[in-house]
């Protein structure tokens, strides 16, 4: 290991017992953690788990559970590849969601195009791209790039040879990405937090571990 540079103070070191003491002193209660769990269940749409959790952990319902249900129906439709159904359901819920989110609407239409291509309905795909997507592509460079990327799928008939950046459009992850976007937009329209707190905790942990391991020797996270 290189000698520490003079400007960088030497790493401090924190012993196990001291670290344990500090872990112990973090002010977090079971109820706090329960609420974090509930937040996760609600945002991710685990409705029945959330309902059970209300009873078992003695929490009052943070949201109307029916709203979870409709969000989940939309998500499921997207996971199935039934974009039309999803769009209809979103509009049933609140037409403003798509009206006020051009990017979201574009991504849904893009997903629809992807589904056409996946199913080999090439002529429909072309028609749809020309009618629906091309005009929007003129609205923003981001839309245009995405449209071009999607259309490139047509060029690669044999999928294995497609470049990863293009083939990934056909992966389940792309569906989930779109579904996640829709989920977030619905939550936002309901005035509910759209970011999962637990994910935030992990991000903060990732950031903090990196920053602190540069400066200190301390016990690693031990699960």
């Amino acid at each position: 290991m290189a000698a520490p540079s003079p400007s960088r103070p030497q790493k401090i070191s924190i012993r196990n017992e001291e670290w344990d003491r500090r872990l112990h002193e973090v002010p977090i209660s079971k109820n706090d953690l329960n609420r974090l769990i509930m937040d996760y269940l609600v945002v991710q749409g685990y409705k029945s788990a959330a309902e059970e959790f209300c009873h078992e952990a003695n929490l009052s319902a943070p949201v109307d559970f029916d709203s979870i249900e409709s969000r989940m129906n939309i998500r499921d439709a997207l996971h199935r590849g039934d974009v039309e159904d999803a769009i209809a359901r979103v509009n049933d819920l609140n037409p403003e969601i798509l009206d006020t989110n051009p990017a979201l609407y574009f991504h849904l239409q893009q997903q629809r195009l992807i589904e056409y291509i996946r199913e080999g309905r090439i002529s429909e795909a072309l028609q749809f791209a020309q009618d629906e997507l091309a005009p929007r592509g003129e609205e923003s460079p981001e839309f245009l790039t995405e449209l071009e990327r999607t259309m490139a799928l047509l060029a690669f008939d044999a999928l294995p040879s497609a470049p990863p950046g293009i083939a990934e459009l056909l992966s389940p992850a792309q569906r989930m990405k779109t579904a996640g976007e829709v989920n977030a937009a619905i939550l936002e329209s309901l005035g509910q937090p759209k970011d999962v707190k637990l994910v935030g905790v992990l991000k903060l942990l990732e950031w903090g571990e990196k920053e602190l391991s540069d400066r200190a020797e301390y016990p690693h996270l031990h699960l």
Partner: protein
């Protein structure tokens, strides 16, 4: 941005008056509190003069009478009598008017103000000239200590500390810091007993000391990893030790006036800094400076400096110093020429100066408007002090460290910056190795959303299982497995544990929560016998203690029930009597002992509940005796102290209502705590972690961020775990 009201032009004007008037003002407002203020009148003059000598011979302060300076002083002070009576009451005032040369020989000077200083011979000259062999940059090491010490020797009113800065509330913008609870303003340092200082002050030399300032309270120990967290002191005043000789600092530590005089030339830069460095845990720190007078040229620098930056240089000229100069509006960071930055500033302006530790950049404001951010790597490897530099006599400033309202809307600014810093942190991709058992790896592969969700699902499931939320766990498991079968959410073994085990454990734990200790004990004995024998039966003992308390609480309930029944019976009796009886009865009931049973049918009711009460009491006592038998020889302090506390409950009529430690032992929350303990004991007996992984992650994260804040990573101050993750989550608990 400029929500704060524009500074009225009329405000600065009084401030801009020559400092003589200000001096008088401050003299007058001083508490004239010394009862003996009219005492030794002529003496102080002589004494004060001697302090010039005392500077070189600290602490002995022989009252040798010197005359040369006196003549100067007397001849130039036209209103001496008045001055004397006023100043007498506050010896420390001298430090303000001429801190460098004398302690209390100020009387004439207060009156003379700037006039005397600039026109004729300034006594300051007299004292500097003999010192001329010393380099001008000499740090005024023992100066502040000596005069103070000697003043407390000499002055009649020295026994009471001279008026100090009024301590002030922590500025509101600092509430944005996650570590706000540690950030404190403080009353400025008290005058220390003589003889104490020299060791500290003389230590100024090149010792690579920690961060302690010579002034004031014991050095704020830089926290080593193993000491408990301490208070982080905020800057509150300019330092008397770390200021150039030419600068005089007002008694409240906020004003700085250039006192260098014509005899020494007027080109000398002179700087001062605060007593305390800025804790990076502030996230952003901000202070404002009123330019009371820019003198002729406005050679004023406002900024930051490291601990030991030369005091004969303006902030920004030297390495580890940064400044914004009033005469040309340039910013300086270890440069002589300066870089064009903002407008010039002068008399009547208010300049704000901030440091953002999350980006290590500085920013400045003028009269409430943002000028811009400037500099890089400010205070990255050096402790940072607010610092001011002046160059000409007549220049004078007053600082606001939060004592007064800020002109600039710093709260709004900090909120924005905090949000930005937090967004940056939240843009960190979670890596696949974060939660792997291999520990953090240097190779960071960003996890996909799926992987992240999978990891969280696993955490959630094990959390639910840990706390025995059985139904939730099953529902969750079902839902997570369904649509995303390809996720490797580890649902077996580790998650829910052996089938039925979670349910059993949960049932036992719930029994304790409900107070059914017998069932809990029986089931534990049956399914997890190791729990009761571990630690020489400590868990068993605790459960039995609780059982005893439950028995006692039962008697309390029965007692209440009986009393109620009797009261009802009395009431009924009274109703049967005539109406007049009401008044009488209301008085009478409390007077009668509870055991004073009425007649007829009422007595029967009371008797049956009385029987039950007696049965319960005897059961409780019996149980207590058997415990005493079993545990009186157990020497473990933990056992004995818990036993004592438990038995102590007997003494109270209604232990929970009684409050204090008794209620703590008896109240229902104690059941939950015990249940939790039992849960952990069972898990431990199975070789499982006593904390859910999720909780460990949360605690670890919070501890990491806290440590980062303490060691000066500014962004950590804007990572408010509590606010972001706990407070922001809807409080849905009943």
């Amino acid at each position: 941005m400029s929500r704060s009201t524009a500074r009225s032009a009329s405000i600065p004007i009084p401030r801009a008056q020559p400092s003589s008037s200000r001096n008088i003002e401050s003299v007058i407002t001083l508490p004239v509190s010394s009862p003996r203020s009219r005492g030794p009148q002529p003496i102080p003059i002589l004494q004060h003069r001697t302090t010039d000598d005392q500077r070189t011979t600290p602490n002995n302060g022989p009252r040798s009478v010197r005359t040369s300076n006196i003549s100067v002083a007397t001849s130039t002070s036209p209103i001496r009598p008045v001055a004397r009576s006023l100043t007498q009451s506050s010896p420390s005032l001298t430090m303000r008017s001429s801190p460098r040369s004398t302690t209390t020989g100020f009387e004439p000077r207060v009156i003379r103000g700037d006039a005397a200083r600039s026109v004729t011979i300034d006594p300051a000259c007299l004292s500097t000239s003999p010192a001329s062999p010393l380099p001008r940059t000499r740090r005024p090491s023992s100066i502040p200590a000596t005069p103070r010490a000697s003043s407390s020797h000499r002055s009649p009113s020295a026994t009471q500390p001279p008026p100090q800065t009024v301590s002030f509330a922590r500025p509101a913008y600092l509430d944005e810091s996650a570590m706000r609870h540690l950030l404190q303003t403080e009353a400025p340092p008290q005058i220390l007993p003589p003889g104490r200082k020299p060791s500290q002050t003389s230590r100024r030399s090149p010792t690579p000391s920690d961060d302690s300032d010579a002034e004031g309270s014991p050095p704020p120990k830089r926290r080593t990893a193993d000491t408990a967290p301490e208070i982080l002191h905020l800057p509150t005043r300019w330092s008397e030790s770390y200021r150039h000789d030419f600068l005089s600092i007002s008694q409240d530590g906020r004003d700085i006036t250039y006192q260098g005089s014509s005899c020494t030339g007027d080109r000398d830069a002179a700087a001062a800094r605060t007593t305390r460095p800025i804790p990076p845990a502030c996230g952003i720190y901000y202070y404002e400076v009123d330019i009371l007078s820019k003198g002729n040229k406005g050679h004023i620098s406002i900024g930051f400096a490291g601990k030991d930056v030369k005091l004969s240089r303006l902030p920004g000229w030297e390495p580890n110093s940064w400044g914004y100069h009033g005469d040309d509006g340039c910013s300086f960071a270890a440069e002589k020429a300066g870089t064009p930055f903002g407008p010039t500033y002068g008399t009547g302006d208010t300049i704000g100066c901030g440091i953002d530790f999350s980006t290590n950049t500085a920013f400045f404001t003028k009269n409430g408007s943002f000028i811009g951010s400037v500099f890089r790597d400010v205070g990255k490897n050096v402790e940072l002090y607010p610092s001011i530099g002046l160059r000409h006599s007549g220049e004078s400033i007053r600082v606001n460290f939060g004592q007064d309202r800020f002109h600039f809307d710093i709260e709004f600014y900090v909120q924005q910056q905090r949000a930005r810093a937090w967004a940056n942190i939240m843009a960190t991709p979670v890596s696949t190795s974060l939660l792997s058992s291999a520990g953090p790896s240097s190779v960071k592969t960003p996890a996909t959303d799926d992987q992240t969700r999978g990891a969280i699902n696993k955490l959630v499931l094990s959390y639910l299982s840990h706390h025995g939320y059985t139904k939730t766990a099953h529902a969750f498991q079902k839902q997570t497995q369904e649509p995303e079968r390809d996720h490797d959410v580890d649902m077996d073994g580790e998650g829910l544990g052996m089938d039925g085990d979670m349910e059993r454990r949960t049932r036992i734990v719930n029994c304790v929560v409900e107070g059914d200790i017998d069932t809990a004990l029986a089931d534990t004995r049956r399914y997890y016998p190791a729990v009761l024998t571990a630690n020489e039966g400590l868990m068993l003992f605790k459960l039995r203690c609780r059982k005893f308390i439950e028995l006692l609480l039962e008697t309390t309930e029965l007692k209440k029930q009986r009393d109620m029944e009797m009261l009802a019976a009395r009431k009924a009796d009274a109703m049967d009597d005539d109406e007049m009886g009401m008044d009488v009865d209301e008085d009478a009931i409390p007077l009668e002992g509870p055991g004073d049973v009425g007649s007829g049918a009422d007595g029967e009711v009371a008797r049956s509940s009385k029987d039950r009460l007696e049965a319960a009491l005897s059961q409780a006592i019996h149980y207590g005796q058997s415990m005493l038998n079993d545990y009186q020889s157990d020497a473990r302090p933990e056992v004995q102290s818990l036993f004592k506390r438990t038995v102590g409950v007997v003494a109270f009529h209604d232990p929970i209502a009684h409050g204090g430690i008794t209620a703590e032992v008896a109240r229902p929350e104690a059941r939950t705590e015990l249940a939790n303990e039992l849960n952990q004991a069972i898990l431990r007996s199975q070789g499982r972690p006593v904390r859910p992984a999720l909780e460990t992650i949360f605690r670890h994260t919070a501890a990491v961020v806290y440590e980062l804040g303490m060691i000066g990573v500014g962004a950590a101050a804007f990572a408010d775990v509590q606010k972001e993750f706990i407070d922001a989550t809807p409080h849905s608990a009943d």
